[in-house]
């Protein structure tokens, strides 16, 4: 079977040819890692007792945690000595408390790390505990702690687990490579999630521009009756959870609601692999696959990188930057975060490092809206972006709220299609922030 088509969306050039045929190369562990204590949605972590400057740590050793449920612990990603604990640059823009570890070059693993045993023998509660202990968060970029999604309230029955292999962001190919190279790990991770949720069906959704991944995943699930691979129409934002759930199950997540309200939990392919590693090897999340790409990168690649590696070092690994680079983006071109420099660490949610040159960066000024309604057609959640943006420009946030501004998930389609080059998504973000501010009062 194949997924249906969601309303709206756009078809940007995907530029995936830069890296889609390149297998994932492990990058050598750097001499120093910068591990932020906030790499997830939820409460920031605090350094554990005994973790202080000068202390020796080993790879995979837990160094920070939080008492809060919606949080995920942080582990050392190299073995060596803690040099500093203090604020450091972070992809989100504001400095974050960060543990700096200088590697001893030995890459010695924490001796407490061992396989958790057979999946059949683990209970749902065991799984949730070990997934939390491994510090696993959503690796698609949203970084929501994985164990929280696997702990639905008792009155919500989850019957479907969807693995998101859509990778609808242009340029990025990390998920694509993970599917080609580690299909059995994804399937194992998916089965663990199904067990943790006592769900019935597992769906792997993949955009049909990745026929090889569809074929590989299909053979990986052969003989598993409860699993299926659903090829998806290639259209951005196909991997957005509401769209993905709609096209694979026909269910519509209610406005303002979570997928669990329609009995679904969504996870990225990378998250499934991390769960596999946590069970089979006991390995916490200390590294991830990311795509380094774009017209400004000399040697685009898919790399397996330790969390905390500086982006500048990753870029050096890929042959450095071209002369006319103009934009550095953590994530994809549609939803990623632009950075002023590369002196910041790779974190759990870093799915890509994208560098664009002058030709690819649109610097033209915006002109008046001509009401062409292309933004309206492109909006996957049926909003009227131009009218919300107009309300935001005039500080009419009540009006923006009536136009359902809070339903916007900032996919960027409206800004992308706008012939007047109006920063619609940005204006809607402002409206959302102001509406939330007013609600808190």
């Amino acid at each position: 079977m194949s997924g249906t088509i969601f309303k709206g969306g756009v078809h940007p050039d995907d530029h995936k040819e830069l890296t889609e045929a390149m297998s994932v190369n492990p990058m050598k562990a750097p001499s120093t890692v910068f591990v932020p204590l906030q790499q997830h949605i939820g409460a920031p972590c605090e350094p554990l007792e005994g973790i202080a400057v000068g202390v020796q740590v080993k790879v995979g050793q837990k160094i920070a945690d939080s008492g809060s449920f919606v949080s995920a612990p942080i582990h050392a990603t190299v073995s060596g000595t803690i040099k500093e604990i203090g604020p450091f640059n972070h992809p989100l823009g504001r400095p974050v408390q960060t543990i700096t570890i200088e590697s001893d070059g030995k890459d010695e693993w924490d001796d407490q790390i061992k396989p958790a045993g057979e999946l059949e023998k683990l209970s749902a509660e065991d799984l949730r505990k070990l997934i939390r202990a491994a510090g696993i968060v959503g690796l698609g970029g949203a970084t929501f702690p994985a164990h929280v999604k696997l702990s639905p309230p008792p009155d919500k029955k989850i019957d479907v687990v969807i693995i998101n292999g859509a990778e609808c962001e242009p340029y990025l190919t990390a998920d694509h490579r993970v599917m080609l190279e580690m299909p059995e790990k994804i399937v194992y991770g998916l089965k663990a999630m199904i067990k943790a949720l006592d769900a019935e069906v597992g769906i792997i959704g993949i955009e049909d521009n990745k026929q090889d991944a569809i074929a590989v995943m299909q053979s990986a699930i052969a003989g598993e009756d409860q699993l299926k691979v659903v090829p998806l129409h290639t259209k951005y934002p196909q991997g957005a959870e509401k769209m993905l759930i709609q096209v694979t199950t026909g269910r519509k997540v209610p406005s303002g609601g979570l997928p669990l309200e329609v009995g679904v939990v969504n996870h990225n392919v990378g998250t499934a692999v991390a769960i596999n590693n946590a069970i089979k090897e006991g390995k916490p999340l200390i590294e991830r696959v990311l795509t380094v790409t774009g017209s400004g990168i000399n040697r685009p690649a898919n790399l397996l990188v330790r969390i905390g590696t500086l982006v500048s070092e990753v870029i050096e690994e890929c042959g450095g930057l071209k002369d006319n680079t103009r934009k550095l983006i953590i994530g994809g071109p549609m939803m990623g975060l632009a950075q002023p420099h590369a002196n910041l660490p790779v974190i759990k949610g870093t799915s890509g490092i994208l560098v664009l040159t002058d030709e690819d960066v649109c610097l033209s000024e915006s002109v008046t809206c001509i009401r062409c309604a292309k933004c309206v057609e492109s909006c996957p959640v049926s909003l009227l972006p131009t009218l919300i943006a107009q309300a935001a420009e005039h500080n009419l946030f009540d009006k923006a709220e009536k136009l359902h501004a809070l339903d916007c998930f900032e996919c960027g389609c409206c800004s992308y299609v706008c012939p007047s080059k109006i920063p619609l998504t940005q204006l809607i973000r402002i409206a959302k922030a102001e509406i939330m501010k007013a609600k808190k009062k």
């Binding site: 001509i370 309604a373 012939p419």
Partner: protein, 321 residues
């Protein structure tokens, strides 16, 4: 990394489409109709279009104090559309005054592109119809003379097919479709207009709802109230669609982005409203044709339509009002 990195809010890539490219696409879409106008009405048609486009561009450049005549292309579109709704016999000064009015009163006094309430070309047309009706209403329409480029078509004039049943019956449905009938430069050839419309639809610049609602309503009302000539009520419906300005109005004027609704339902309502008012004027009004005023009236209610047709957001539930 010595370069200054640009930091901005996502998304970081944009479509290559611009206001200028959209306007250029509209001009391309109007090319078949412009070509037909020259084939049918000769050099007079060409002259009218050139004067109108040039006047519109010059006035806009002057108003905005820009040296670039083409600029975003919107003035050229307005100028060409205005010429398209004039007879080939229109005197040059009328073309100049009308095109200037389109740009100044129809567009710039509201704040320029994006801010005008009414379709600028139709504002120009309404002004010249009201002011110099003798040149634009009645038995003033040059008879088409295909492939006679140098003939002055204004020598032989007649009424349009909409003047009455006997006039209508002098033309076959095929004449109406191909366009060899008296009428405004750009409105006569449904075939040429459709070609351009398909192009605009393919480029995503028009939605089916406005032309669909407009043409559909005219057809249905034409079938029911058209009087049943041509021996078949459906042919009367078709006659109402093909004669006069419905095709150019539905495909090019009522789809003007600025002055029409942005909501999908709003677009359908807008199209149906245009069709309804056009037929009210045609059947019960004093003027033979009603497309201009139908669209202008619907332009005026566009903000209200948008307000009442806000779409249900994804996963939203209707509030019990």
């Amino acid at each position: 990394m010595d370069n200054k990195m640009v930091v901005s809010s996502s998304p970081h890539i944009r479509t290559i489409e611009s206001v200028q490219s959209v306007m250029t696409d509209v001009l391309i879409a109007l090319f078949p109709a412009a070509l037909m106008a020259v084939l049918l009405f000769g050099y007079k048609a060409l002259l009218t279009m050139v004067i109108s486009v040039f006047t519109a561009m010059v006035i806009e450049a002057f108003w905005l104090r820009k040296r670039n005549l083409f600029n975003d292309g919107s003035a050229a579109v307005t100028g060409l559309l205005f010429a398209m709704v004039l007879p080939a016999s229109a005197p040059w000064w009328l073309v100049v005054v009308g095109a200037a009015s389109s740009i100044i009163i129809g567009k710039q006094v509201f704040g320029g592109i994006g801010n005008n309430i009414f379709n600028p070309a139709l504002v120009g047309r309404a002004i010249v119809v009201m002011s110099w009706g003798g040149h634009l209403v009645g038995r003033i329409w040059p008879q088409p003379q295909p492939f006679a480029f140098t003939t002055d078509v204004s020598a032989v004039t007649m009424a349009t097919a909409l003047a009455g049943q006997s006039e209508a019956l002098t033309f076959s449905i095929t004449d109406l479709f191909v366009g060899s009938i008296p009428g405004c430069l750009g409105e006569t050839s449904a075939l040429a207009l459709l070609l351009g419309g398909v192009w605009l639809y393919y480029k995503g610049h028009i939605d089916w709802r406005i032309p669909g609602g407009f043409i559909g309503t005219v057809f249905v009302l034409g079938v029911v109230f058209g009087g049943g000539f041509y021996g078949n009520i459906f042919l009367t419906g078709l006659f109402n669609v093909l004669a006069g300005g419905v095709m150019i109005g539905a495909i090019y004027m009522a789809t003007d982005m600025v002055s029409t609704p942005v909501t999908p339902t709003g677009k359908l309502i807008f199209g149906i409203g245009c069709g309804l008012i056009t037929m009210l004027i045609r059947i019960w009004g004093t003027l033979p044709e009603g497309v201009t005023f139908a669209i202008l009236i619907m332009n005026a209610v566009t903000p209200i339509i948008d307000n009442f047709t806000i779409p249900q957001q994804f996963g939203g539930v209707k509030k019990s009002a």
